[in-house]
């Protein structure tokens, strides 16, 4: 087991999760998410450019209403003390700030990649489904980037 670096995600083994419900429900939710990502055009390299050039409201509108809806959902879950459908308590672990280096440094690195490839991880999968098969090269590269981070992690400031 890894020793937790301040400001990291909770170690996966400590993330509370209900017993495996069968992966099918998550597969189907993924299908629905892939459809929404595609139909909203947030997976479009052109839309990402439009956003970073401040030339249309579309992407900002998607992000803002997504965050608002998610916030509303979280409030409802907390106020009504809702549980999962099989009765497990719902917990949203807070992220630890630490020195915060990982957030701005990792964020900057991610952002450069986002604009170059025109894709963040979710859209990357949806693009491949949409026939942009060359993006499998970008996905393989993203896996390589993740792997290199894992290898260098103890030497990076967090």
């Amino acid at each position: 087991m890894t020793s937790p670096v301040p400001g990291t995600l909770p170690e996966p083994s400590t993330i509370a999760g209900s017993p495996l419900r069968g992966l099918t429900s998550y597969l189907l939710l993924g299908v629905a998410f892939g459809i929404v990502l595609t139909k909203s055009e947030v997976i479009s390299w052109f839309r990402v450019q439009e956003m970073f050039r401040f030339q249309a409201f579309h992407m900002y509108g998607v992000m803002a209403t997504a965050v608002f809806t998610a916030w509303l959902g979280l409030q409802l879950i907390r106020r009504l003390d809702l549980r999962t459908i099989d009765g497990t308590a719902i917990s949203v672990p807070p992220k630890t700030l630490g020195r915060g280096t990982r957030y701005w440094a990792g964020g900057l690195i991610f952002g450069i990649g986002w604009a170059l490839a025109g894709a963040c991880p979710g859209p990357l999968f949806a693009m491949i489904g949409n026939g942009a098969v060359v993006m499998t090269a970008s996905l393989a590269s993203a896996l390589a980037g993740t792997w290199v981070y894992g290898a260098l992690r103890s030497r990076l400031p967090h």
């Binding site: 299908v31 390299w45 964020g107 991610f110 949806a126 942009a132 970008s138 980037g145 993740t146």
Partner: protein
Amino acid sequence: MARADVMHQWPWYVAGPMIGLFVPILLLVGNRMFGVSSSLRHACAAALPGRAAFFQYDWRTTGGWNLAFVLGIVIGGMLTAAFLSDGQPTQVSAATQASLRALGVTDLTGVVPNEVFNWRALLTLRGVAMLLGGGFLVGFGASYAGGCTSGHAISGLADMQLPSLIAVVGFFGGGLVATWFILPRLLGA
């Protein structure tokens, strides 16, 4: 909604709330926090953990759902392309069309600029920089920051987490640097 509305691009006020709904839905289904980039970590842990402590954990229990979810995203993209699309090019603004034309990008069909994003482009500097370099930085940066657009910009901001706000400012700053300073050199050349 008419059939043509479904087949056409969905407006932000329809798509945004639908995307946001995945946060409460995933919590209610199995206490899972919405986020996509962890799938990259789980895939590494499953396929090639090596000696890195970062990849030594039970990926089946903690990440199985996430890997199923991203496989679903691929299938969702395929289904949309096959059955839910009117085949129109991305309806970006006239200003964006002009900006991209100045960089030599004129074909707006599909989800990527076909002139630059193709297999042969992997033999060119700009293709390598954009497709492979971009992908690498996305994977490295998301793991370093502990989340991507879904985990930080949607889940984290909705939960009003300061670390996520810092990460999102970073995402945006990096994107601006790449758009305004790196891409013009790569595409204009």
